[in-house]
């Protein structure tokens, strides 16, 4: 079970995780969105295209990192090989897809579900945490909660809705 985590205003924990090509990524600068996802969770899949669209729409202004922390022994669909195959099958993603084998990064952030979105400002302070939008089943929602938060961060405003409940499958802890 997850007992740790960060709150709004806290600085991002450090991370160094490999992507599907073996390259290691760190949180060197913000603004940045770190979100938990995986291959097998229907909620993560339902929101997947919307999150990739946000990454594309904010390219050059906000970095995006997707993280999979699920136990790949119990859930082979979330293994590094399956991650690599999925990214390839989808023609590449607009951001890295990282594997958190030890699950330490998920615990440090306090990630609970897939998806679970953390948006940080230029100083790497947490400004939004939660679901992408109000309804996984409605693509027209367009990840509005996340977009609103990113617009506020980029314009130097307070985020109106800084925290929402993440909705999705629980992270599969070892």
């Amino acid at each position: 079970m997850n007992q740790q985590g960060i709150a709004i205003g806290d600085l991002a924990p450090d991370l160094a995780l490999p992507d599907t090509d073996g390259q290691t990524w760190r949180l060197s600068a913000g603004p940045v969105v770190v979100y938990w996802t995986c291959n097998h969770c229907p909620y993560a899949l339902a929101w997947h295209d919307r999150l990739l669209d946000v990454a594309r729409d904010y390219e050059g202004r906000v970095r995006f990192l997707a993280v999979n922390s699920n136990d790949a022994e119990r859930y082979p669909a979330d293994s590094p090989q399956a991650m690599r195959e999925r990214v390839g099958a989808e023609g590449g993603w607009p951001h890295p897809y990282l594997y958190d084998e030890s699950q330490e990064v998920a615990r440090a952030f306090g990630a609970e579900r897939t998806p679970d979105v953390f948006a940080f400002d230029g100083d790497l302070a947490l400004r939004y945490r939660g679901a992408p939008d109000a309804d996984y089943d409605d693509p027209a929602q367009n990840a509005a909660w996340l977009r609103d938060a990113l617009d506020a961060v980029l314009e130097g405003r307070e985020v109106g809705r800084a925290e929402t409940d993440p909705v999705g499958c629980t992270i599969k802890w070892k």
Partner: protein, 89 residues
């Protein structure tokens, strides 16, 4: 399960006949041939039968709706059709 109960009423079946089975272990999953949560069987048939490559176990199921969307729940129309088929059998 609200969606199933509602469709049962539409099909003229008493929603009290709905049987809910909690699967809490891999052993339970194997015994029930459980491909993930939620699994809805009507008249013994899965409303969207999993493919042979789908593993048995404690996991989340991915359903594809008739419009192509992926969802944690089956398409309501699939439940309705399954109930209609059961009633007509």
């Amino acid at each position: 399960m609200g969606m199933v109960r509602a469709e049962m009423e539409v099909a003229g079946i008493d929603p009290a006949e709905l049987r809910i089975v909690e699967v809490t272990s891999e052993e339970d999953a194997a015994r029930h041939r459980f491909p993930g949560s939620p699994t809805i069987r009507i008249g013994g048939r899965d409303v969207q039968p999993p493919g042979p490559e789908e593993p048995i176990g404690l996991t989340c199921r991915v359903y594809r709706h008739r419009d192509g969307r992926l969802s944690p729940l089956p398409d309501r129309a699939d439940i309705r059709v399954a109930l209609e088929e059961m009633v007509s059998r």
